[in-house]
């Protein structure tokens, strides 16, 4: 008896099987994709350091990534290799190497077949902000009551009349079924059956906050310094807006004098002249007095400067800061020092250090390069949060 006689012969063209519903290859590809995203996420600091994002209407950042390589031991690429081909060729014939041409596009170790496909990962700014701000919160945020309670619309009940867009089909159908249960009822839909969702206005206590972004644009701040500070401000604003619905932002720049700007203008602003920190701080105080009652608002101040305040302004600046500190929930000082790191040993740096030492809600941070932006955001919005919880 031959083997084929006992052989159970499956019909070879069988109906749907597991493999039509599930692909191992796709599963493992998704895992690879996750790993790439994880890797990109770990490099957020570099990702958000691109200054060109700011101000533009771009909503995505493109990151070219290579497919991950699973490494094996390999010999070093030799300058020459020998191999065997087949066809009409005589000894001494010379032609171009087609594998080299393809490899020429990608640099480095890209010569091998698997180095060549590049993935262009498109990340939404919103996604990046989400990763950045996953664990971040405004420090010392307290509910403030007052006239400016928030109102929101919530769904509440049904009505027989309403906008077509609010027609609740399921509910309407239920009404039809109920009505038809009665003897002698009209079997088709009537206007009686239609139900519309209703919205109601509901009030809730507001978590109102205003964030002041104060930037020193004096002559001593280089273009790069300003860019650093603006990058920090950009991601801060993006994140805070996402986190808090009713957040107001005020943009102020100062040299020896101070001005309020709209957001687009602020991210374009440049200036020259001396530095008088008190002028900026005074401007902030003035705006608070005019528009933001400390009883109704959580007030935050983030001040970016190179720290070189005019010596004649020392006393005025200290007083202005002390006055502000009484009103604000938190003030953060960002020392922009492209290239040089003086570890906050500057006029303004000492000012904020004294404030913090005296128990004020203040913190400072040095921003020397674009990679520090992420650290600064963490420091201000995560560390403070923990401190607030401990308290």
């Amino acid at each position: 008896m031959g083997p084929s006689d006992q052989m159970p012969r499956e019909p070879p063209f069988s109906a749907a099987k597991w493999y039509e519903l599930f692909s191992r290859g796709a599963r493992d590809w998704l895992r690879h994709d996750d790993k790439v995203r994880e890797a990109v996420r770990r490099h957020l600091p570099e990702l958000i350091s691109g200054g060109e994002i700011i101000g533009g209407s771009v909503r995505t950042v493109r990151v070219p990534v290579k497919l991950l390589e699973h490494y094996h031991f390999r010999l070093r690429r030799a300058a020459e290799r020998q191999a065997v081909g087949q066809g009409q060729a005589k000894p001494g014939d010379v032609f171009l190497d087609p594998t080299e041409e393809r490899a020429a596009g990608s640099k480095g170790a890209g010569g091998e077949a698997e180095g060549q496909v590049q993935l262009l990962l498109e990340l939404k700014i919103d996604d990046i902000v989400e990763w950045l701000w996953e664990e971040m919160q405004l420090p010392n945020l307290l509910p403030r009551t007052g006239p400016s309670e928030e109102a929101e619309w919530v769904r509440e009940g049904w009505d027989r009349r309403g906008a077509r867009s609010r027609l609740d089909r399921r509910r309407s159908f239920k009404e039809l079924v109920k009505r038809r249960a009665a003897p002698g009822a009209v079997p088709t839909f009537t206007d009686e059956d239609l139900r519309f969702r209703q919205l109601a206005r509901r009030r809730r206590p507001a978590l109102r906050a205003v964030v002041f972004l104060l930037l020193d644009v004096s002559g001593s701040m280089s273009e790069r310094d300003r860019q650093l500070a603006k990058t920090f401000f950009f991601w801060t604003v993006q994140g805070l807006r996402r986190q808090y619905r009713s957040l107001e932002t005020v943009f102020v720049a100062h040299t020896t004098d101070a001005w309020e700007f709209t957001e687009p203008e602020f991210f374009q602003v440049s200036g020259s002249g001396g530095t008088v920190a008190s002028s900026g701080l005074a401007k902030v105080s003035e705006i608070i007095r005019e528009r933001f009652d400390a009883g109704h608002y959580n007030i935050y101040l983030f001040y970016a400067s190179d720290g070189d305040n005019a010596a004649s302004d020392a006393v005025a600046a200290r007083e202005a800061l002390a006055a502000l500190a009484a009103e604000v929930s938190f003030c953060g000082y960002l020392e922009v020092a492209a290239g040089v790191s003086r570890h906050l040993q500057t006029e303004t740096g000492r000012l904020f250090a004294q404030l913090a030492a005296a128990g004020g809600a203040a913190d400072s941070c040095v921003l020397a390069q674009f990679e520090d932006v992420w650290g600064a955001i963490r420091r201000f919005f995560a560390a403070q949060q923990r401190a607030a919880e401990d308290a």
């Binding site: 083997p3 493999y19 998704l30 070093r76 066809g87 009409q88």
Partner: protein, 453 residues
């Protein structure tokens, strides 16, 4: 319609193959969609452990397929019974051809000694075995989390080529103690010498010396790590052993590719030729398909820069059977692997006839070299040595758990790719959990030692 035709053909093709002297285990055929064919090709097994690197290969395959390259007709797995997966997109003629081809493979894997040895050691049911590994690893993921399991797989799969097939699959650990030194011959001199100072030659009183680990440079890295890693959990060792077992299965497939594909191609051509029960049209279609498969150079090209193993194997077998007869061919298919096959049977005349040439690629230029049959054979075989991987050996396991690896640069003639080697060491270090070092040479031939951490 075509399904019934094909089913009617299968037993008759099998019978014909048996009449011609092929001996094979029964084969279970299954028609599967192209998407699954592709996955089987990517994983090498129908159901295999999950790992992201397979996902990368899968994407490359998808891209290739979209560019119109390489369609797969069949994938066959040796065993008792064997498993053959046919593409559901095959026509009748293609299926007839593929059935005959599969029987050629089934005969090869049953009778080739290398395959036989691996099947006795691993299993005659590798497909089920691999599925079992996949399940076991899936369970590990559920228990220990994807991160930890992935770290183990990163390391184990990176070392998948580093096995020693000359040792049995199930190996005992090294002897703990060194062999006691041989007793000296009991002759007249020895007796007189001992009499000089009675008591000094207290034989056997010396403490037994611990044998160094490993006692000799060890090639089987997967086995060594599984056995001697100082801080690995047993489930982690099991993963290393599972990967190793699959490598033992893949080895004969890898190292007999030219013979095996050639043998299957020879037999599908011969079976079709002698199968008078196949309709005229089906025969013509199938033979067309055959000539596509064994074509050495693409239709629109003059030269190919690689060899087509189907063609080379097919042409060699045709020659061998014409010259020496079937019995001799059966003996060769039982005893050889590609190394022996190419060296013994690819003669200078045949190489000329097939249009094989050796070339040197340098700076983007390819220069065809003078004919030299020995160098040609070596150039064909070079990518097959040591499972296609550089020779990396375990040199010493230190008392503090430091693992010392060494690359044999004399054998491989140049050093390792440092960047990649460093990454592999990092993978390995994560499961070894102590220092891992590797010695190789740099571009200038100077010794370099890599270390993780």
């Amino acid at each position: 319609m075509s399904r019934e035709d094909w089913q009617n053909y299968v037993p008759r093709i099998e019978q014909l193959a048996r009449d011609l002297g092929l001996r094979f285990h029964p084969v279970e055929f299954e028609a599967v969609p192209d998407s699954l064919m592709m996955e089987i090709a990517v994983y090498g097994l129908p159901v295999r452990m999950p790992h992201w690197s397979f996902g990368v290969r899968y994407i490359y395959q998808l891209i290739q397929r979209h560019m119109g390259h390489s369609r797969l007709f069949e994938v066959v797995f040796p065993g008792n019974p064997g498993h053959a997966y046919l593409s559901a997109g095959n026509g009748l003629a293609e299926n007839v051809l593929v059935t005959a081809h599969v029987l050629g493979h089934a005969d090869f894997s049953r009778n080739n000694l290398l395959f036989q040895r691996c099947q006795t050691q691993v299993s005659e049911r590798i497909v089920e075995h691999a599925a079992q590994h996949a399940r076991q690893i899936q369970q590990a993921i559920e228990t220990h989390g994807i991160e930890r399991v992935e770290a183990v797989l990163d390391a184990a799969l990176a070392l998948e080529q580093h096995i020693d097939v000359d040792q049995p699959l199930r190996r005992a650990r090294y002897p703990e103690y060194a062999e006691p030194p041989k007793a000296l011959a009991d002759d007249a001199f020895r007796r007189r010498f001992a009499a000089l100072e009675p008591g000094a030659a207290g034989a056997g009183s010396a403490p037994r010396a611990r044998a160094p680990v490993p006692p000799h440079p060890e090639r089987d890295l997967l086995w060594f790590v599984a056995q001697y890693a100082p801080e690995m959990d047993s489930w982690e060792r099991d993963i290393f052993l599972a990967v190793r077992e699959e490598s033992f299965y893949f080895y004969p497939v890898f190292v007999t590719q030219i013979m095996n594909e050639g043998w299957a191609s020879y037999w599908h051509a011969r079976l079709l030729r002698e199968a008078d029960f196949i309709g005229q049209q089906a025969y013509v279609d199938a033979i067309k398909c055959h000539s596509d498969v064994v074509r050495p150079v693409a239709a629109d090209e003059q030269v190919a820069l690689s060899i087509n193993p189907y063609h080379l194997g097919f042409a060699l077998w045709e020659h061998i059977i014409a010259e020496q007869g079937l019995e001799a061919a059966f003996a060769i298919r039982a005893q050889d692997d590609d190394f022996a096959f190419i060296r013994n049977h690819l003669t200078r005349e045949l190489a000329g006839e097939f249009g094989l040439f050796r070339y040197r690629a340098r700076d983007g230029k390819i220069r065809v070299l003078e004919q030299d049959i020995d160098a040609l054979r070596e150039a064909i075989l070079a990518p097959k040595y040591n499972f296609g991987a550089p020779t990396v050996l375990v040199r010493h396991l230190h008392a503090d758990g430091t693992l010392e690896l060494a690359h044999d640069q004399v054998l491989d003639r140049r050093g390792l790719d440092l960047e990649r080697s460093r990454k592999v060491l990092e993978y390995l270090q994560r499961v070894w959990r102590r220092t891992v070092r590797l010695a190789t040479v740099g571009e200038d031939g100077m010794a370099i030692e890599l270390s993780a951490p």
